[in-house]
């Protein structure tokens, strides 16, 4: 009698745990059917990497403001770093889709030729062109 009860309990527990596992498996595998899109996100002490024509570019800032899906604004001290250059500035706008970044604030750039300082910049990354605006001083190593 006791043996039968134990068997039933064990069978029940096995079925119960299998059901739980199946439940977990099913809901873990279930694809997300909704698109979450949140505008005006702000992140402090932000850093990330972006894949562009000039390779992997590391970006970072004191404060990141996501304007919309394709536009972000790096507020405060910010940087863009990749194998070709390191740009240190502030208040940098980035158009992700067009691969364009720009700032009207003083900027310092380090590349394999030297160190450059200017009053602002516009980086057309997909064309491999950076325009430094205002008074520019480029000290060559």
């Amino acid at each position: 009698m006791i043996r039968n009860i134990n068997k039933k309990i064990i069978n029940f527990l096995i079925i119960f745990f299998l059901a739980i596992q199946f439940f977990i498996y099913f809901y873990n595998q279930r694809p997300l059917s909704e698109n979450f899109s949140q505008k005006d996100i702000t992140v402090e002490n932000f850093s990330s990497i972006v894949l562009s024509k000039s390779g992997i570019t590391k970006i970072g800032s004191k404060k990141l403001n996501k304007i919309d899906e394709d536009n972000i604004y790096l507020e405060g001290n910010s940087y863009l770093e990749n194998d070709e250059y390191k740009i240190y500035g502030e208040n940098i706008y980035i158009k992700l889709k067009e691969e364009i970044s720009n700032s009207n604030k003083p900027v310092r750039v380090v590349n394999s030729m030297g160190v450059l300082k200017s009053k602002g910049f516009k980086n057309l990354d997909n064309e491999g062109i950076i325009i430094f605006k205002g008074e520019v001083e480029f000290l060559i190593d």
Partner: protein, 154 residues
């Protein structure tokens, strides 16, 4: 004593950050075109290398990459070109400098000014390494070659 040491350290730091053999300065823009390996400077351009200082309204410099370093191969200067080389001043409307042979070619209302003379012409070829200047006149019929004294040799 400590003050003197601190002053020396600060001076050395300032000197090391402010001094550079070569530079480019511009008042309007500097465009770095990494695909065409070119820098274009606009507005009151000042270019200095280990040989000379040049001033112009615009500059286009081409470079190559060697051992992860960018090196200027040619420097082209446009409009109101003034090049100061030791005690000489070259002027012209256009100039091109090639690093390989250290030659500067100036064209358009060219002049060479030195402490003792002023020569004018249409085209100037300044061979820096061989210390030779060739000045062509505007009508291209006559040729003036000026050999400088040996004490100004590089």
């Amino acid at each position: 004593m400590i003050n003197q040491i601190l002053y020396l350290i600060v001076s050395l730091l300032f000197f090391s950050t402010s001094y550079s053999d070569s530079y480019v300065k511009a008042s309007d823009t500097l465009i770095w075109d990494s695909e065409n390996k070119q820098y274009t400077a606009n507005g009151d351009v000042e270019f200095k290398n280990e040989k000379f200082i040049a001033y112009s309204d615009k500059m286009i410099a081409n470079y190559i990459e060697e051992n992860n370093e960018e090196i200027f191969t040619t420097v082209e200067l446009f409009e109101n070109v003034v090049i100061e080389f030791k005690d000489e001043i070259f002027k012209g409307n256009h100039a091109i400098y090639t690093k390989d042979d250290n030659i500067i070619i100036l064209t358009g209302d060219v002049s060479i000014e030195s402490p003792t003379r002023l020569l004018t012409g249409y085209e100037l070829i300044a061979d820096i390494d061989n210390n030779k200047r060739i000045l062509n006149s505007a009508d291209k019929d006559s040729l003036v070659e000026v050999l400088l004294e040996n004490d100004s040799k590089n």
